[in-house]
């Protein structure tokens, strides 16, 4: 190839890459500005983008508004209004209460899930190809004969305009001074008379506007469905994370460079086995970038407080017994179902096991994991590969050994997220686990070898749905026993200690890194078991069932049900499947989303609320029996110490138990 032609191709590819790159840069501007003004990494941005795109399509295609009017309405009115609404209803109350990063993150996920649920409810899940384009599909010819698409030019213009606008406002206006003050120290800024709420509101409105802009600009390039666009936009979080959520120039540059790199990679055409890999990398460069940026950004956000545990530990109470009884009845009911109802119910125990994996990792151990759907998918895919005899060196296996082997093989892969968890927490860990789950989906589940020619046949004795359901219940029971082991006794106390106060646990001799690896390994195994059962229930490997966005919905569901409640997870699985089957798809997501947004007022989720209600109902354990110095036997050394205390401090000052500590209150 001649040098000139090669250079020309490079330029053309770079120009093509700017389309994606400028969209990523826009998304990055929105995330960075929102974070600077509000302190929140807006995980819901992708859903906001998607919802705005749906709204625009509704107005233009269904209601026949003129496109410019509809676009102005969506971007200048609807999107900022959504931002202001979220600020007033969700994030300002959290801010005012001094809520931590974990709580804010769950609220963001709540917004995300609610928006997806609403869109599914209103417009369904069928992909739409008729999204209106704001910019005519023409091109402009640059000097040298290179062609730049007009929409790309418009996007680049928007990037430049917004970046300049933000820079100018920050630097030259009084509002910018307030913004800088709030970024430096919110409390201090408030004390000196800065209206920090106004800054936050402006941040949310602007962030929501850019999210909407990204959505309406990107939507014409792809089939619009409730899952694809949010995921795409979430992947562009890589840009903001690389900029440490602060630097606008870095975010813009990273976005543009990644877009260009993605485009240039299409020139690489290695032969043979490498080609699919290179193509996957090329198509998913932003996922890789997000993984790298999240691994790099170890100290991103604090988020040191656990997501779970707000409601106190489960105690033997009538409410707890009632919940367990309801749970048992609910999972036994489908044994009496027929046909389609029974077939749908097959997903309940399987999903319950996946949700239990979140309980173990997040609820019991305090480690945020947004990637459990990935492990569930690996379990499903592994089972399918083993049954189909696609693992080299192994004959096709019957379903049961295949499932168990897939679980055993997936469990150690929990180290993929467990290892990063040793030195990360909060937001940084959330991003790493999300990126790992997304990478699994993109690089494994969505590759042709995974989906083509796989069988997931059930053995003869489990062919009937009722028999299979019974077998699922057995495995769910086994899973619950394992989970119980992780919450009781020496191991359970150590995990709880790690969740409640990691430094304290370490000082007490708890081997924290080992426990984290154990929690993620157990979680991966449970998720794989649930995923494998999902595959066997539907007799097919369905990559979309393990979509990372699905994983976010599951995570929010568990946190809403009460992250450290195993019973809550089983009930939540029944409700998720039941609500969508019994009403309209999307209802369950709306319910979960609303509850997740309200979680700030309901620490510990529904299980925590139930526990508190039970305690206020007068069912708390009675006061402990009065102690007494004579009541407990001391070791000889202890007795000596006690005697010395008494003799030194005089008869009254010895730490006798009754005088100061008046039992539980």
């Amino acid at each position: 190839m001649a040098g000139g032609a090669s250079f020309g191709l490079t330029v053309d590819l770079a120009l093509a890459g700017l389309t994606v790159g400028s969209a990523a840069a826009l998304s990055g501007i929105g995330l960075v500005v929102t974070h600077r003004a509000t302190g929140v990494l807006n995980l819901a941005q992708g859903a906001q983008a998607m919802a705005t795109a749906y709204l625009l399509r509704e107005l233009v295609v269904v209601r026949h508004w003129p496109t410019p009017l509809a676009a102005a309405f969506c971007l200048l009115l609807a999107a900022p209004a959504l931002g202001l609404l979220l600020d007033a209803l969700v994030f300002r109350p959290l801010q005012r209460r001094g809520a931590g990063a974990a709580e804010t993150m769950v609220a963001c996920l709540g917004v995300f899930v609610l928006l997806i649920g609403t869109v599914v409810l209103l417009w369904g899940t069928a992909p739409l190809a008729d999204t209106p384009s704001l910019v005519p599909a023409t091109s402009i010819t640059l000097p040298g004969g290179h062609v730049l698409r007009l929409d790309t030019a418009v996007q680049l213009g928007a990037v430049a305009a917004l970046a300049l606008l933000v820079a100018a406002v920050t630097r030259f206006t009084a509002f910018g001074g307030q913004l800088r003050a709030v970024v430096d120290n919110r409390r201090l800024a408030e004390l000196t008379g800065v209206d920090a709420d106004r800054v936050s509101a402006a941040g949310w409105a602007f962030g929501s506007f850019t999210a909407g802009l990204v959505g309406v600009l990107l939507a014409p390039f792809l089939l619009l469905d409730p899952y694809g666009l949010p995921l795409l936009v979430m992947e562009t979080m890589a840009v903001a994370v690389a900029a440490r959520l602060r630097s606008l120039p870095v975010a813009v540059a990273t976005g543009l460079l990644l877009g260009i790199a993605q485009s240039e990679l299409t020139r690489l055409r290695p032969g043979g086995q490498l080609l699919p890999l290179v193509q996957a990398v090329q198509a998913n460069l932003f996922v890789i970038a997000l993984l790298v940026a999240a691994l790099w950004g170890r100290t991103l956000g604090d988020g040191s407080e656990p997501v779970a545990g707000g409601g106190g530990r489960a105690v033997a109470s009538p409410a707890g017994r009632a919940a367990r009884a309801a749970c048992v009845v609910l999972v036994l009911l489908p044994l009496g179902f027929q046909g389609g109802d029974l077939r749908r119910a097959l997903f309940v125990p399987a999903l319950a096991l996946v949700l239990l994996s979140v309980v173990v990792v997040t609820g019991y151990s305090g480690q945020v994991s947004l990637g459990q759907a990935g492990y569930a998918g690996l379990g499903s895919l592994g089972t399918a590969l083993l049954i189909s005899g696609r693992i080299p060196g192994l004959p096709p296996l019957p379903a049961v050994p295949a499932l168990l082997l897939a679980v055993l093989a997936t469990a150690p892969l929990g180290l993929l997220t467990g290892w990063p968890a040793i030195r990360r927490r909060g937001l940084a860990l959330a991003l790493v686990t999300f990126a790992v789950g997304t990478a699994m989906s993109r690089f494994v589940f969505e590759q042709p070898y995974a989906t083509s020619g796989l069988t997931l046949d059930r053995p003869a004795f489990l062919d009937g749905d009722r028999a299979f359901y019974a077998a699922e219940l057995l495995l769910l029971g086994a899973g619950l026993l394992l989970v119980r082991r992780l919450h009781r006794g020496r191991l359970g106390r150590a995990l709880t200690a790690m969740r409640d106060h990691q430094a304290g646990a370490e000082a007490a001799g708890v081997d924290v890194p080992r426990l984290k690896l154990l929690a993620f390994t157990a979680g991966a195994g449970l998720a794989a078991l649930g995923g494998g059962l999902m595959g066997l229930a539907g007799r097919a490997f369905d990559a979309s069932a393990f979509d990372p966005v699905q994983g976010l919905i599951w995570f929010a569901t568990v946190v809403v049900a009460g992250a450290d409640s195993a019973v809550g997870a089983v009930l939540a699985a029944a409700l998720l499947v039941g609500l969508d089957a019994g009403t309209v798809p999307g209802v369950s997501a709306v319910v979960v989303g609303v509850l997740a947004m309200a979680l700030g007022r309901m620490p510990g989720g529904l299980a925590g609320a139930a526990r508190r209600a039970a305690r206020w109902g007068g069912t708390r354990p009675g006061p402990a029996e009065p102690p007494g110095p004579a009541g407990t036997r001391l070791s000889p050394a202890g007795a000596r110490v006690r005697a010395r205390i008494a003799e030194r401090a005089g008869p009254s000052a010895g730490p006798s138990a009754g005088d100061r500590f008046g039992g539980p209150r």
């Binding site: 370490e506 000082a507 402990a624 009541g631 070791s635 730490p655 209150r665």
Partner: protein
């Protein structure tokens, strides 16, 4: 309460840097058995950083930490804890969703398979926590939580006890109780090392005092002499409490 005899904690030339600045700059220190050793100095003198280097929460960049002559410099914190190095925190570290007894049990059962419950009961009784044993730790006042933390440390049967500002948040009566407990523990042979701002408590309790400033030990010796040293002065007195 002590297990297999009391130990001796030694720091030799410990250095810990943050981005080129030495927060701890070549500190030698000994916490001998049966003695209460106090570490004083103004805020930013490097006391807490040194403390972290000793407990294992941080690794020194140079120097060594010895427990009974064994080099533990490279051991992670939980391994040091299992060897008998117990610590408490300036900002109380309890596990709020566990009960008082469970909090203490966590400390006991990391170091022993058998007798953890008995050790827990002994620690609870010793520190007057038996009545509160089934209360969730989240609901207790500061003074009680300090005792819970101390009980957790003692239940592990420590050979050395490190206490980071144990009197913060305690009223006068609680401080007096704490002093009595600490004195009794030392009298039983346990080495105690405490970081403390309360001059009065230090002069009342400590057998030896190390005064730190800017990452170095400025002076060390008997409490009365060190606290009267003009170099220690009252420059850190303002930070009391």
């Amino acid at each position: 309460m002590s297990r297999a005899g009391a130990g001796r904690l030694t720091a030799r030339g410990v250095v810990r840097r943050f981005g080129g600045i030495a927060a701890v700059d070549g500190v030698d220190l000994v916490a001998p058995p049966g003695r209460i050793t106090a570490l004083v100095g103004p805020n930013g003198a490097g006391k807490s950083t040194l403390f972290d280097c000793l407990s294992g929460a941080a690794r020194p960049d140079e120097g060594r930490v010895l427990l009974d002559g064994c080099d533990i410099t490279r051991l992670p914190e939980h391994a040091r804890a299992r060897l008998g190095l117990a610590r408490t925190f300036q900002r109380i570290a309890v596990f709020p969703t566990l009960t008082v007894a469970e909090n203490v049990l966590v400390g006991a059962e990391q170091v022993r398979r058998h007798g953890a419950r008995a050790a827990t009961d002994r620690a609870l009784t010793l520190l007057g926590l038996a009545a509160a044993r089934d209360a969730p730790a989240a609901e207790l006042p500061t003074g009680t939580l300090r005792m819970v933390e101390l009980a957790r440390a003692l239940a592990a049967g420590p050979r050395v006890l490190l206490l980071d500002e144990p009197s913060v948040g305690l009223d006068a009566a609680e401080t007096a109780r704490l002093a009595a407990v600490l004195r009794a523990l030392a009298a039983d042979g346990l080495p105690l090392l405490l970081v403390e701002h309360d001059t009065e408590l230090v002069s009342e309790l400590a057998d030896a005092v190390y005064a730190m400033a800017a990452g170095r030990v400025v002076t060390a010796g008997p409490a009365a002499r060190v606290l009267a040293d003009p170099r220690v002065g009252l420059s850190w007195g303002e930070a009391t409490g």
